[in-house]
Symmetry: C5
Subunit: 262 residues, 5 copies
Amino acid sequence: MRSLSETPLVRDGKSIILAHDHGLEHGPTAFSEVPERLDPETVFEMATHDAVTGFAVQKGLAETYYPSYEDDVNLLAKLNGTSSLWMGEPYSPQTCSVEYALELGADAVGYTVYPGTNREPEMFEEFRTVQEQARKQDVPVAMWSYPRGQALKEHRKPDVISYATRIALELGADIAKVKYPRSGDAMATAVDAAGDVNVVLSGGSKTSDYEFLSLVETAMNAGASGLAVGRNVWQRDNPERILDALEAVVFDGATADEALPE
Amino acid sequence: MRSLSETPLVRDGKSIILAHDHGLEHGPTAFSEVPERLDPETVFEMATHDAVTGFAVQKGLAETYYPSYEDDVNLLAKLNGTSSLWMGEPYSPQTCSVEYALELGADAVGYTVYPGTNREPEMFEEFRTVQEQARKQDVPVAMWSYPRGQALKEHRKPDVISYATRIALELGADIAKVKYPRSGDAMATAVDAAGDVNVVLSGGSKTSDYEFLSLVETAMNAGASGLAVGRNVWQRDNPERILDALEAVVFDGATADEALPE
Amino acid sequence: MRSLSETPLVRDGKSIILAHDHGLEHGPTAFSEVPERLDPETVFEMATHDAVTGFAVQKGLAETYYPSYEDDVNLLAKLNGTSSLWMGEPYSPQTCSVEYALELGADAVGYTVYPGTNREPEMFEEFRTVQEQARKQDVPVAMWSYPRGQALKEHRKPDVISYATRIALELGADIAKVKYPRSGDAMATAVDAAGDVNVVLSGGSKTSDYEFLSLVETAMNAGASGLAVGRNVWQRDNPERILDALEAVVFDGATADEALPE
Amino acid sequence: MRSLSETPLVRDGKSIILAHDHGLEHGPTAFSEVPERLDPETVFEMATHDAVTGFAVQKGLAETYYPSYEDDVNLLAKLNGTSSLWMGEPYSPQTCSVEYALELGADAVGYTVYPGTNREPEMFEEFRTVQEQARKQDVPVAMWSYPRGQALKEHRKPDVISYATRIALELGADIAKVKYPRSGDAMATAVDAAGDVNVVLSGGSKTSDYEFLSLVETAMNAGASGLAVGRNVWQRDNPERILDALEAVVFDGATADEALPE
Amino acid sequence: MRSLSETPLVRDGKSIILAHDHGLEHGPTAFSEVPERLDPETVFEMATHDAVTGFAVQKGLAETYYPSYEDDVNLLAKLNGTSSLWMGEPYSPQTCSVEYALELGADAVGYTVYPGTNREPEMFEEFRTVQEQARKQDVPVAMWSYPRGQALKEHRKPDVISYATRIALELGADIAKVKYPRSGDAMATAVDAAGDVNVVLSGGSKTSDYEFLSLVETAMNAGASGLAVGRNVWQRDNPERILDALEAVVFDGATADEALPE
């Protein structure tokens, strides 16, 4: 088993994953403020930014656009997903096999799990299969670990986020992508609960440059290994500016203040 | 992976797909006005028209009649379907394997997906398997992308149709077959949301020649790559006349007025 | 693919299938008037009658008795079935694999499908697998096409029976076994809807010789390719007499009057 | 296919199967009167009695104790089972594969089916797989055929037991194990309905020596091929005495009176 | 089949299994009193104690930390598990395949079964597959046999625990891990019901040193083959002290009094 740190997804132990699966998960309305970004090529271009160590997309985008970007972008193939048209019990069906992801040139694979939901058992079993196939092929596995379900009214409660990162460790993920648990201390506990698994902050919906970078700064100080960011990059008018700043905070240890150009 | 444009399903980047799966989906009552068309041979004859770049039928019709038409017709094997006798939650079971479709001589395969329904997850997973098998065999995949379900009262709402085409892109289809979203602008957005995937208009139930051709003209102007048409051809007394006209509008850029003979 | 007419199941394009799956579907009470027929050997004997082109039984009867009859009887292995003790939503589980049916010497296979029920999708998928395996082995497939379900109060409505035969065509059956749709005209439409698929009348529960033969005569005149008959043969005191008469009506074009000995 | 009569399970066409799956089906409370029999070795010893042609146990007992008894005992591996702690709809999951049963040295396999329950279809399908695997390996298959379910208030009604034996015939079992249908006449009908399948009486809960042997005598006179007995042997203080008597009734045609020592 | 006593999991017929799957089953709050133990390395260290014959963890911990401990620790790979965020009907999905467990160096595998719950049948079937794969690879199988479900208000009732150990025997486990049935006599019956299967006591939640050791002493006197312990070791400030004492009670037959240092 190759260690995660030997893969291109990580640089100096840290990662910035640009996520662009919103076309499936949220639908085209996510692009209503930036309609030109409906063209996936515009976001693939962002993924060539030096700050980005991995680009997370569904199979269809990878098939169509990745051949032109494989020299400049590390592909993190997202292997499951669902539309927001669907109102059922939270669940995310598999949309791409590990084998096919590798044919597409994936450097890593990603899988969403919703612990606490009625279908937690199915998702654990499906994650198992994907994880073991990925191990056989020696590609790292990122778990989008998002507890949900009726028993969980607060998805960002510190205990819930620690549980989320621990599940990633126990089930054999290399990277745990989790929501921010509302404080740096809680983030630190979540990082501890993950053992040697890299914890990356989930970027979430768009906020101001300063607010967003401060959040990332806090997470990094709490021991996070970076972040996975989507809307906070590609919904911005100037994605390069925020990627420059994220690079400074994540890889160079800058504060939000230092990272933001005047 | 062979590009879609290299396949016979597309001519100059455009397609007219003659669909004839109504025997299964609607039943013989769909033929009540044109009882002689219950004989599938009459519709296979229409598919030899030069305008038609692909003929979409279920396995049984292909088995029985395609051997006599394989030189003149490009087969798009429809791989799932259901009867209208069935009143369950929208779902379409697989009726033909990719492997068998290829033995029948299929040039492409088609699969219906109903995003937004309770069984969206199953359909996404089944589409995945079919899509990856088709990739292995280098045949293009058309997705009948038809959002439905209780949360969707308006199946032709612009946002819904854009989501439908985007799902086709994200899940790895080559062609997205969608309903008309009520305006050319909405169609243009749906085309944008599809990225490099070809969007074809679903012909729907029979209307007048002019009304139908105008719709196609609008869709083509909005960037559609053609249409999939069934009842508007084979329910007509003179299918050749409408196929001639469709050829003019889709391949030669004619207006509905120009395309219709006096 | 071998054409159905080249198989022993058909003679001059027509078939008389003797069905004897009632032990499973109806139980031993179906034999209460003819208790000696509980011994399957008595019915195997009837199947050696020249009129019979195929004998439809479940795997267990075929295993036990067919070895003594394989020279004189063409075996149509029925591959699914259920008991009438079971009161669930109509469904028929698979009781024999295609592979094993062939080891037993089957000349053809038969599968029941209940379009319109909650489990139509499963049955369509299971039929697909069976049909494709049968194609690979070059044995014909008969579909018992029996629409049912809550939306169908009248199972013999003309439109429903036409739909039943069409489903057999669309899904790739060679023979459609359907109930009588109450009139010769409706039967003719059902035959048209089936395209090149052979439609055979389902014999149903026991009636008088004349009534039964008249029904068969009407069906034949409407274009049916024969019948599948069980109780109307093996529940009779003199099965040979009715088989002689059926032979006359089905293969020699006799009327019911002509076929019945004084 | 080897005929059942060539297997060690049958002697002169008859069988006495000692069943000892009660540890799973009923739990240790079944042993409360004979606690020393919790040790499976004590019951394996009984199975060495000359009367016993087959010993039916779950995989775990076979693994642990059969290696010491394989010269003296014919193993009938019971392949499914459930606990009585479970209160769900009657169903019996598979607990041992055919392949593994053969590795354990099984001479035959046994499978419980509950016709009439909501899960009849699943059990028929699972029985199919097991039966076909057993055929491939040439080991006989015994069906525990126990109709149940909400529609069946009387599990021992004559019609129900005849249906039970017929299902065993239709689905391809070699032996049908059924409850006693309350009279010798009903038993005779059940034997008729089974065709060439051997019908064995299910011993049931413990009764007096005479009552039990009379029941067996009646069943044998009705054409049964023996019995499967558990509690009426191993719950007795003197199992050898009853096994001697059973041997006389089943194999030597003795009456209950003759068989019982003074 | 290798006998359990030849495997490293057992010493002189006895075992102390250190269990550390609480990160998944209970979540990080189980560590709130001993936050430094969130680091799995601290518990792997405990597993090197001479008293410990097997260390039970989920796949993720084994992958990350076992490579450094494989010389000093015998790995019992726990193959299923669930989070306590999930509130569904008791069930434990498979999280690791037998094949992968062996690649990780497992000396034994463990599987939880919940007899009496609605999903007992699924768990029995899944246990079957795991057990047979383990037999093929010659690694022992421990069953966490925990009856639950609505019909069981008292999970520790003597009859229930005896049933639990018997199920382990019947289904082919080598070790049965069960809760304490409230008395030494009941434990002795449970040991009897297990036949040749080793019964180990489940340690349960943390109690005082003396209380815990007395419980173990009683279980050992009742014939138990040791215990599986988690929180009563790693939630203690001084795990070594309790492991020393457990070693004395389990392997050297010391009483709780003798085993506890002043």
